[in-house]
Amino acid sequence: MKVKFDTGGLGLSRWYEYVIRFVFGGTITALTGIAAQHYGAEIGGLFMAFPAILPAAATLIDRHEREKKERDGLDGTQRGRVTAGADAAGAAMGSIGLMVFGLIVWLKLTNSLLSLVLVGATLAWLAASVMVWELRETLYRRIRARLHAASGHGLHAAAQRGSSTHRRFDE
């Protein structure tokens, strides 16, 4: 599946949704600092990878998808939940990149320039996350192709139904 920019999603967001994200992000960053002050760097550091934005993002995605379906007179409850699930699956892949980010900062920060380490680690996060996502996409494509080649018509049709359901929700 091709990655694309789509500004249409911005029109669905309301002003207070941006405020919610800002408050969530700000609160977690502040709490990370407070935790580090009270319990030391080792506990504070854990919260640098706290899933601060995921619950808010998933809730918003769910609501947007439901509203889109309801405008067409359909019940979008399931679609909303599965699309939010696809977003969370992406976050799981992104968290592997987050591990790479932490590893680079831990090993390089003390003897390198801060800006250089942060830019390098952020680029490494992006590269690792995209690689994991690409790998998953390639594996899914191969599995579907094998099902297509090995199965009879009935099984193939069932696999197609399954995969198209998955895709529809992922878009």
Binding site: R21, A88, M93
Partner: protein, 113 residues
């Protein structure tokens, strides 16, 4: 107090910027990568290095590795419950936080303590 306020504003701006970038991308599984962007880490590290130095920030980054492993399991549980079981989003994302806390503090206790 001022330091906490600065952290709040810087964190809010960085997290919002990454979230906005995620809003612009399709498909949703790709946009989801930005839900695990190092936004809180970037804001925290910038402020920590200026205040407490690189050694301290490096220690935080080591713990962040464990936090990221916990994040992986949290996001995995949330995605499975939403895609396979189709459970309501808010309770799933809320109650699954227990997975993050258990995994993060469990690993910290086993490895770093």
């Amino acid at each position: 107090m001022t330091e906490i306020l600065v952290r709040f504003v810087v964190g809010g701006v960085v997290v919002s910027a990454f979230a906005l970038l995620g809003d612009l991308l399709k498909p949703k599984s790709f946009a989801g990568l930005f839900g695990a962007a190092p936004s809180v880490a970037l804001a925290t590290l910038l402020l920590t290095v200026s205040k407490q130095g690189k050694e301290y920030a490096s220690l935080e980054a080591r713990s962040m590795l464990i936090g990221a492993i916990a994040f992986f399991f949290y996001a995995l549980v949330v995605s499975r419950l939403l895609i396979r079981r189709k459970l309501p989003v808010l309770p799933v994302t809320g109650f699954s936080m227990a997975v993050w806390f258990a995994c993060a503090f469990g690993c910290w206790n086993a490895v770093l303590r």
